[in-house]
Every structure is written in structure tokens, then in C-alpha cells.
Symmetry: C2
Subunit: 213 residues, 2 copies
Amino acid sequence: MYKSALFSGFEVSNVNKLVRCLGVKFKNCNTNEIIMSYKESPEYLYVVLSGTAELATYDYDGNKTVLERFMQDSIFGDMFFKPLGADEFSVFATSSCEVMYFRYYDAINICENVCKEHKRFLDNLFMIMSKKLLAQSRHIEILTKRTIREKLINYLEHIEAESGSFSFLLPMSLSSLADYLSIDRSAMQREIKHLNDEGIIISKGKKITLIKK
Amino acid sequence: MYKSALFSGFEVSNVNKLVRCLGVKFKNCNTNEIIMSYKESPEYLYVVLSGTAELATYDYDGNKTVLERFMQDSIFGDMFFKPLGADEFSVFATSSCEVMYFRYYDAINICENVCKEHKRFLDNLFMIMSKKLLAQSRHIEILTKRTIREKLINYLEHIEAESGSFSFLLPMSLSSLADYLSIDRSAMQREIKHLNDEGIIISKGKKITLIKK
DNA sequence: AAAAAAATGTTGCATTTGCAACAAAAAAGT
DNA sequence: ACTTTTTTGTTGCAAATGCAACATTTTTTT
């Protein structure tokens, strides 16, 4: 828990102090366990400390729709997602998963004797929210592209910028990527093939090299 | 400016005090004027006080791509969007537009004598960010739908939930809606026609009624 | 080490969608 | 009140995409 970005810059003893002060709670979940459901009224903010999870819903046929994926330092909670209709949306652990949660309101309306820890905590929370906003903006930017090719290239260029190299390993499986880009997996595979044929990329599985002309 | 959600719960005199303390700056722009460009290093946070604006870029052909639209209480800034490649992205006023801006860092690392105003300001800022996160989540949820029909229905159901009625007026033009859903306008029009033919909706222009079976 | 499960790669085909081009209506500007 | 611009509505056609079904490879589990 001390490695969470929420506590970056904290001394271990101060983490404990703050945890007590904010009434932070912890939860450990195994794969496929439900961490929380979007229906409760109290406004808790959840932070993933370790492991992975996803926000998903199952329709009447049992088909799963994944809305969002979470990893270390991801945040989720009632104020970031509101379900539409009667479907139940829940966050499931996709691997052994540790989360912490606290009342959003308590964290913001910190007690009168605002200590350095509180300030830093808010600062960190702010940073995490900004990063989420940025990640979502990027996702929207990509989803807004009209063709599979444009989506793919845009995504790959982002990975290139992040990794700082023309050659990189995709951070997720190709099937997950198809989900993220919201396109059919086989159609994506076909486009990858075309990009290879046209010499725009060289790829084998998750290993991809962008060729600049 | 006193009507901005950032200052909700504030007395007028305290707004002035805080504005001075944070070094808040103001800017008035006419339609089509550039409010800011995503290239400067200083991390300013912008809040729209009145009017509308959009984040857009022009490619070599002069085609405009709109990434995001802003209205009262929308926030934007370097930490929420990072341009990819050499293209220049800017925020343009789409109507006469008032914005305020301040250094992100100054707002978070507020001075030692944390007054009630500071706290409330941060509180409001968090709320605005949460709302933006929620709006983006919804947008992603819709963009992730695979067919035009699913996108449309999902969007309309959101409007229905917000308005609380099966009958409503779209909050934007049909062309803008096609942009928002990232689909071809004429294809959307065709789908609207089909939905009418099948008795799923009754619509004429922006006036739409959802028929529940 | 073997078996089971998940991910990758491929293809034909039907369907959906985007594109282009236009007419009509509505809204905005002068 | 008139003109210009934007929005809405429509259609044929070509192209892109999703779907289904399968073989192959890789990864995970037992």
C-alpha cells in the first residue's frame, strides 16, 4: 500500500496516521470476485493498490461487456460512472487484487487542522484524477477515428511516443487491443496484415516496429 | 464569473480575495479566436466562465477535426490533453467566450494559512473534474458500441434519463450528434428513419420520443 | 510432460457503413 | 425582407467491417 501513487512522498508512519484520520478501508479480492457494484448510494472512492480489475456487466445471455480496466493506481467509484437502466454493473477482480477505499467527501472536506499529509494526499489524488482524464481523452480520440487503420496507427503512435522507440511490445494482447479500439478482432488482424504488406509496420504477434518513410 | 461552479458557495468578496491569492487571470475571446494552444510548457488550468469553445486541429488540407467541446464550467489545460506528433492543437472560441486560468500547481499547493475559501475552491474543482470524468466515461461507453443503432439508442436513453421524459429535444444539432457519436451523418439519418419505421422512436428533426414496448 | 485453455492468424461472405451528390427546409446574417 | 449559410433529409453505390468458422500457435493449468 505504501507504493501507491496516492502516498507518494509520504513517510510510512504518516501513511498510517492519514489512513486512520480518513477512515480508509481495505479489501482483498481473488480473481473473479466482485469488488463493488454500482448501485450503493454512499460515495466511496476506490483505489487499486495491486492487481487488476475490470468494470463489466453481463446481459441476459451471459455475454460480458467490459467498460473499463483497472490496474495499480486506477480509481473508480460512484462519481465516475453511473449505470443506465436496470443492468447491474460491477467491478470484478481479474487477478488477485488489493484495493483501498474511503468516502470521497471525507477526503475533500479534510479536518480543520490541515496537516502537510492531507495536503499531499489531495495533491496526489488530483494527479491521479488528471492522469485518468488524460487517459480517457486519448481513448476518446482513438475511438473517434473512423477507420480501423486510423485507430490502429493512432494507438501505435501513442505507444511509440510513450516507449520512445519505433520498436515495442504491445502492453496487452491483440484481442484486448481489439476491445480497446472497439473493433472486430479478425478485422483488426486483417488490417495489421495490410500494414505489413504495405511496409508501414513490421509485426509478429505483439512485437511491432513502426516504419517511418 | 461569480456564477461559475468553481465559486459556488462563495461570497462575492471572498471570490475577489481568492482570485488575488491564486493569481487568477482572465481572458475574453471573440468567435474563432484562439484561447490557448497545446504547446506551452507552463501548466495552466482553464475554466470556461461563459460562452463556448472547442479543442480542434487543422490538417494540411485545412480540414478541421474537433476533439472536444467546452461550455460553462468546462475545464481544459495541458494536463488533460497532450498532442501527438507535430500537429498544432488549439482551443478556439466558438462564441464570445470568457475564461479564467491559473497555475495548476498554485491551486493545489495552496498557502500555509489554508482558509475556508481555499478548501471550498478545491472542493469545487474536484467536483468539476469528477463531472468531466463521468461525461468522458459516458462518451467512451457510447463510442464503444459497435453499431450506429446501438450508439444512437444508448445516447437517446441517456438523454431520456437526464430529462426524465420519453419526449425531448436534442441538446445539439443532428450534425453535431453524428460527430459526437463519430458516425457518418447520412448513415445516422438513415438509421433514425429505420427506427421511426420500426416504431422504436417517433422523431422530427431534433424532437424525439422514445417508444417503450 | 501432457492436456486444456487462450490467443493468434486466416478467409469467404453478408451486412453495415461511409461517401458523394443532391434537394429542401430552417436558421442566421445583412 | 432578402440573401446566404447551415442543417436536415434522401439515395445509389463502393468499400470497409463484422461475423462465422477454422487451423495453428502460444500460454496456462494439471
